[in-house]
């Protein structure tokens, strides 16, 4: 089962992790000065978005133990609010973000208050049902959302500060920095939450809800706090994604696939850890691109496992690129069956066992 690592292996002072995160941020901030390949920048934007979404889920799912498989609802609300206000009311996205976040947080409060009294699998089911309701609303409210056609984002207004034009949003660089900033923010928030009263209470709720309740923890209130926090970051990611890709529709914005991807990012890396969603994001983005660029098929051919011109070879070359969700499904199953602590958790367990073995062997 997916499990977080024991807290004894976690360091107390936030100084080290914060310093590490800021250092990484600074290094990443310098990258666009040296790297101009749009493809590389594109991958990084996807990576940052994945980090944001996975870490946001991690707050309520990994630390709080409430496995929402309906986070696409918040993603979609963020995306649609910003895009609708931009395209139909000419509201610049940085202002549109305010109502987007407010709506997402309000939605989270409503959903939380209704569903948090449900336990385990029933909560999971309810979260899926809610997300489907939101998606169907977007699909059917054609006057607001264009229904299944979706909305194209044309011409984001230039960002002007103090008379100077900062960016026209034509290149990928502004999205790179927006993604980086938000990813740093959500990771730092995770570091803070982990060491705060909120973090302790969430983990207590995750470990044993009734025991937590008997220790003075008001369950729904703390779950709601985590969910509101989680929803706002997820909505922000949705808005960023829609602006970056330039298009939003109910299937790609509020579908179950998105919710599953979000959960997968967190559990692959390791839920309940700061680094887990980051590792998960790296793995998933790398994997997606390897699939899309047919690298996997190339590897199989080079390794002599498959002949390029054989039926299998041709089949793979044509289809593996689109087999995203199939691979994701396999990954979910494999992680749950064999690596429930995720990559970070497994590494931590390995390190712990090594320490214990060395301690035993010491005279």
């Amino acid at each position: 089962m997916t499990t977080p690592p024991p807290s004894s292996s976690r360091r107390r002072s936030p100084l080290a992790p914060v310093a590490a995160v800021l250092a990484a941020g600074a290094a990443l901030g310098l990258v666009p000065a040296f790297v101009s390949s749009p493809y590389a920048l594109h991958l990084m934007v996807l990576f940052f978005l994945s980090v944001i979404m996975g870490s946001a889920w991690n707050l309520i799912g990994g630390y709080g133990g409430q496995y929402s498989v309906g986070h696409a609802a918040y993603f979609g609300v963020g995306a649609y609010t910003v895009v609708v206000l931009l395209q139909f009311r000419q509201v610049a996205p940085w202002w549109g973000l305010v109502p987007a976040l407010a709506l997402a947080m309000a939605l989270a409060l409503v959903i939380g208050s209704i569903t948090f009294r449900l336990r385990g699998p029933y909560f999971v089911l309810a979260s899926i049902a809610v997300a489907e309701i939101v998606r169907l609303a977007a699909l059917n409210w054609k006057d607001l959302t264009n229904g299944a056609e979706g909305i194209l984002v044309s011409d984001i207004p230039p960002l002007v500060v103090g008379g100077k034009v900062i960016t026209n949003f034509v290149s990928k660089v502004p999205f790179y920095y927006s993604g980086l900033a938000l990813a740093l923010a959500v990771v730092l928030v995770t570091v803070w939450v982990e060491r705060s009263k909120l973090g302790y209470y969430l983990q207590a709720i995750r470990e044993d809800q009734d025991a937590a309740n008997s220790l003075g923890i008001p369950l729904t209130r703390y779950k709601n706090v985590a969910l509101v926090l989680s929803a706002s970051f997820t909505a922000w990611a949705g808005a960023l994604y829609a602006l970056y890709v330039g298009f939003i529709d109910p299937a790609t914005g509020i579908g179950l696939d998105i919710s599953v991807q979000i959960v997968l990012t967190a559990i692959i890396g390791g839920i309940g850890t700061v680094g887990g969603p980051v590792v998960g994001a790296a793995v998933l983005v790398a994997l997606s691109e390897a699939l899309r660029a047919n690298l996997v098929t190339d590897l199989l051919v080079k390794g002599g496992l498959v002949r390029e011109t054989s039926k299998v070879g041709l089949f793979l070359r044509e289809n593996l690129a689109h087999a995203h969700m199939l691979i994701y499904g396999l990954l979910v199953a494999l992680v749950i069956l064999f690596m429930p602590e995720g990559v970070v958790g497994a590494l931590g367990a390995f390190a712990r066992r090594r320490r214990q073995r060395l301690a035993r062997e010491a005279p």
């Binding site: 997916t2 029933y122 809610v130 489907e132 169907l136 179950l256 599953v260 087999a323 199939l326 199953a333």
Partner: protein
């Protein structure tokens, strides 16, 4: 009034098929306490099997049930033995994640193998109907209702009158006690999954003449099956039977009186209401 009767009737006929799907889901939950999120994909499997049996061998979908059931029974049993059995003691959230993964694997493999083209299985009676006292009755729907009724009757007989059926019920009621009584509970889990999967696939085969067949068709069935099972009470076969008919009727009436695009939403809202106010369902005992 006749519009009401009409939509009520087709809702009930459809509801029987929902009931069949729900019964499969509730049996799996009853015996293993696992919520099978891949259930809709098993329906999809039945649909494709019926489709290929029809187009390649000319087998009528209603007859294909005789092949579909054992084939998917074996598939379900295999799935339980190799994969699902490993997570019997895991956190329920993780069990559900695993079945979500399995569902994704199934639907996307179908997409890989069969492409996402919509397929249609047209039999000679696919669009026939006859009139009965002012309402029009769709022949394929009536046929699936009758087959469903027969299958359900056989299932009830199996659960109540046979040794294995009683063993399954005992395991569902109290796994530890059943084990102490000498019942091989691991085998019961395998059998129950087989039955659940088989029933879902049979439902798919019965729906094949009237539904578009494509890889993602399973997903709404999964969610609807959950509504049926929660309404009827997790683990209650009787509950799933009643629940299926109720949901079928609700959906049909919603399509007519609310809007066809929103009928699914009505069902999901009903789902949330049930979870909130009567989580044990009509016949259920388990605590939510």
């Amino acid at each position: 009034m006749s519009l009401f009767l009409q939509s009520l009737l087709s809702g009930v006929l459809m509801g029987a098929v929902y009931a069949l799907i729900g019964i499969g889901l509730t049996i799996i939950f009853g015996v293993m306490r696992i919520i099978n999120f891949a259930h809709g994909e098993l329906v999809m499997l039945g649909m494709y099997l019926a489709y290929f049996l029809f187009t390649l061998a000319g087998v009528d979908p209603f007859l294909s049930v005789l092949v579909v059931y054992p084939a998917v029974w074996c598939f379900g049993a295999l799935l339980q033995k190799t994969v699902i059995n490993r997570v019997l003691n895991a956190l329920p959230q993780n069990q559900i994640l695993l079945t979500i993964g399995i569902g994704l694997i199934l639907s996307n493999t179908a997409m890989l193998l069969f492409t996402s083209d919509y397929r249609i299985l047209t039999t000679s009676y696919s669009s026939s109907s006859f009139h009965l006292g002012g309402v029009s009755v769709s022949v394929p729907l009536l046929g699936s209702f009758l087959v469903t009724a027969a299958v359900t009757a056989i299932l009830y007989w199996f659960l109540i009158k046979t040794d294995m059926g009683q063993a399954i019920r005992a395991t569902a009621q109290d796994r530890d006690a059943a084990q102490l009584m000498g019942i091989n509970v691991r085998w019961m889990s395998v059998v129950a999954t087989g039955i659940g999967a088989g029933l879902a696939a049979v439902a798919g085969a019965l729906l094949a003449p009237t539904y578009y067949i494509f890889p993602q068709v399973g997903q709404p069935f999964t969610l609807k099956a959950f509504v049926v099972v929660v309404l009827g009470g997790m683990g209650s076969v009787m509950g799933a039977t009643v629940g299926g008919i109720v949901i079928g009727a609700t959906e049909s009436l919603a399509a007519v009186y609310v809007s066809s695009g929103l009928k699914d939403m009505v069902v999901y809202v009903l789902f949330l209401l049930i979870l909130l106010f009567k989580p044990a369902g009509l016949f259920g005992k388990s605590r939510v």
